[in-house]
Each structure stands twice: as structure tokens, then as C-alpha cells.
Amino acid sequence: MTQLLVGTKKGLFVLDGDPAAGEPFALVTRAFPGDVVEFALRDPRIGRYFASVTSGFFGPRLMYTDDLAAEWQQASGPAFPEGSETSVERIWVVKPGEGEGVLYAGVDPAALFESTDSGASWTLNEALWKEHQAGDWQPGFGGLALHSICPWPGDPDRLAVGISAAGVWITEDRGQTWRTGYPGLVPGYLPEEAREGTNILCVHNMHRAPLRPERLFLQFHGSVYRSDDAGSSWIDVAAGLPSGFGFPLVLDPGDPDAAYVIPLTAAEDRVTPQGSVRVYETRDGGAGWIEHGDGLPQREAYLTVLRQAFDREGEGPDMGLYFGATSGDVFGSADAGARWFTVHERLAPVTSVRVA
């Protein structure tokens, strides 16, 4: 059985189904009606569910529960220390870290928080926050967001984060110091003479290949990149895609050469190109891309898929892939993208999809 946590502009939808057995997905429960659920996930280590909830009236909060049928609890944070003159606008992502009870959260304004008690309470990473304050970081269209967190399997000291629009930041001493990973990223949205040395680098998504942790893939504002040196530098691998612009990114954990993206037409027209919904897969580190559209809408379908709205289950040829669009439609594949099916139609605009 597969359980999908679908965050939307109007609450969290939990869908259960078994695509391998031919059992369609059905709505199990809806939580936080009326509020935006920016992101939801289940920490598989302890079975705890998290939901980043933003009320248009009452602000953002992180909720958690160990049982979907029970009441959700409000975490203590993420919140900036009193007196810092800053407050959290939105919690973009929660990511299990290396070590018992360790999780990370990325927020707007761009900052990293760490929990060591399985998400009940959170502490600001002061060193990265100081870089933020000193760096005159600029927001992207969706805010100044730390939305991608890439732990290093087996090494709690090493972490990379992606920020829109302040690029890639890397720590090798568990967040005590940070350095940038800028070389190779080309901000085509800036005048050519302003690109050299800029920190206005709009990362849209970033993931690490667990079997080869020095390798990362990155969906940028205008291209797709790969790093083979732990994020220190980047190689453009967008050739062969219909567009370098997009948000979602998924890796196959069993194949460090594999990545999936869902391109959108352009920054000025953030919909699937030519009214056709297609997912692109590489199995050679981005040297070439394979187009998948079998089972996806191919005519007059102008969908927008947001950065957290794409996830996977398992690995290899039987890997499950799932994504949702702001149209409220959710799609899935049980064979690593070869064929697709509709998981659910007409939910609220989808902000995130995670396999529980």
C-alpha cells in the first residue's frame, strides 16, 4: 500500500492506494481545512507526520502527529529568537537528518533550523543566519526561501542547502561554518556584466544522490545542473530538455546517474510546454534526457508543478513517482515513469506531494 501526503492551498489530503495491485488511490482524510499546507512528510524512522501549515490570518506553524487519526500537536518553532526583529513567514521544508531525532527545517526568510528531539522543538542555525544578515540576500518570486536540504548519508557534519535566491551553501562542520557553492551556476536573468561574483542565484530545487553523496542535481531558474564535488561547482546538463525552467526534481536513490524533472515553458510562462504534460528522465548524469508522457494529459493541459510537489517511492525500474499540479490533479507512475495514471482529480491547488 502507498500513502500520499498531498499538501494544498486548502489543507492536507491523505490518499491511500496500491497501484501494483491495481487498487486506485482514495481519500483517507483531510486535515487543516482552509489553511495552506505548504509541505507534509512522514519521518520513516519514527513514523511521525509533519505538516507545515500557513494560515492567512494566524501565520505559519509546524504541526506533527504520530497517528493521523489523533490530534496534531504544534511544535515549538521554528521561530527566530526574541529580539531578532525577524519572524518566520513560511516553513518550506522539513528533512530528516543524520542522527537519532535530528531533523532540519528551511524557512522564509531564508534560515535553517535544527531539531534534536524528533521535531518537537527547533533551534536556529546562527552561523548561516549571520551569513544571511551580512550577505544582502535577495528574494525570488516566491520569497527568500531555504527550500532544499541535502544531508550526507552517514555523516552528520556535512550538509548542503539551496536558497532562492542566494544559491548553494555548504557546511562540513555541522553548521558551525558555511561556504558557498556558486561556480558554474549562470544567472541568465541578470545582465551579463552583473553575473560575475553575484550572490543572486535562484536555486529552485536540489537533491543529493545517496549512493554517491558528492553528486547533486540542481534545478535552477533557467537550467538544470549536476555537481560531482559535493556542490562546490556545477555543470549545466539541461541540453535535451524542452526548457531549462522548472521547479520539481526527483532522484533515483539506487542510481546516482538518474534524475527526473518536469520542465515549464519559461519564467514568464510557468506552465507545461505546448499544453503537454511530460516528465524527463536521465540515466546518464544529464548527458541525455528521456521524455515520458504516456498516460499524462497531452493536449490543452497547461499545468504548473511546484517545487515540493514531486516525490518517489522505492528505486530502480519499479520506482513509484508521484506529482501534483496547481490544477488540483495528482499523477503517478509505478514503473519509474514509463507509464502514468491519474491518482486524483480536482483537489485544491497542490503545493507538495510526499510518499509517507
Partner: protein, 88 residues
């Protein structure tokens, strides 16, 4: 002590009571006291810096105020969501 009145969903996070008598020299102080008594409401009216959230309205004796507005024991403080925060 000033009287604080709450509407849903804030009321449910403050023990289910719509009316609370709380001590404090200004709006921020009484709302912090409300958080101390009812932790589930923490962060819902005031942000972590103690500021009234932009889409929450606080009225004292019919006048919309912020967290620094002074209070007297006779004041009635109404806390309710604004009409601007709930985008479609």
C-alpha cells in the same frame, strides 16, 4: 484586569472560552499572558517578536490598535481575524 474576547478558531485554542480577564499594562502584555495560560494559542495572535500578526485585528473600546496600546483595567480587548487574510 482587562477583558479579552476571542472568536473561533482562537477561542478553541484558549480553553474554549470566549472571554478572559487578564492583567497587563498594554495589549502585548495581556496577549503574552494569554499565551502563558494557554500555550496552544502561542504564535497565533502575536508573532515570535511579540507583534500582532498583520491579518489579525485587535480592537480596544472600538478602536483598532497594535501591541503597544496601553490598557486600563476597564478596557475590553476584542481579537479577531481581519477580512484581508483569507485569500481565495
Amino acid at each position: 484586569m482587562a477583558v479579552i474576547t476571542l472568536r473561533a478558531p482562537l477561542r478553541e485554542r484558549a480553553g474554549g472560552d470566549a472571554r478572559h480577564e487578564l492583567a497587563g499594562a498594554n495589549v502585548g502584555e495581556v496577549l503574552r499572558e494569554l499565551e502563558r495560560r494557554y500555550p496552544p494559542i502561542t504564535g497565533w495572535i502575536l508573532d515570535e517578536q511579540g507583534r500582532v500578526r498583520p491579518h489579525v485585528n485587535v480592537f480596544v473600546n472600538g478602536e483598532r490598535v497594535r501591541e503597544d496600546a496601553p490598557l486600563t483595567p476597564q478596557d475590553v480587548v476584542h481579537v479577531l481575524p481581519s477580512i484581508s487574510g483569507g485569500r481565495a
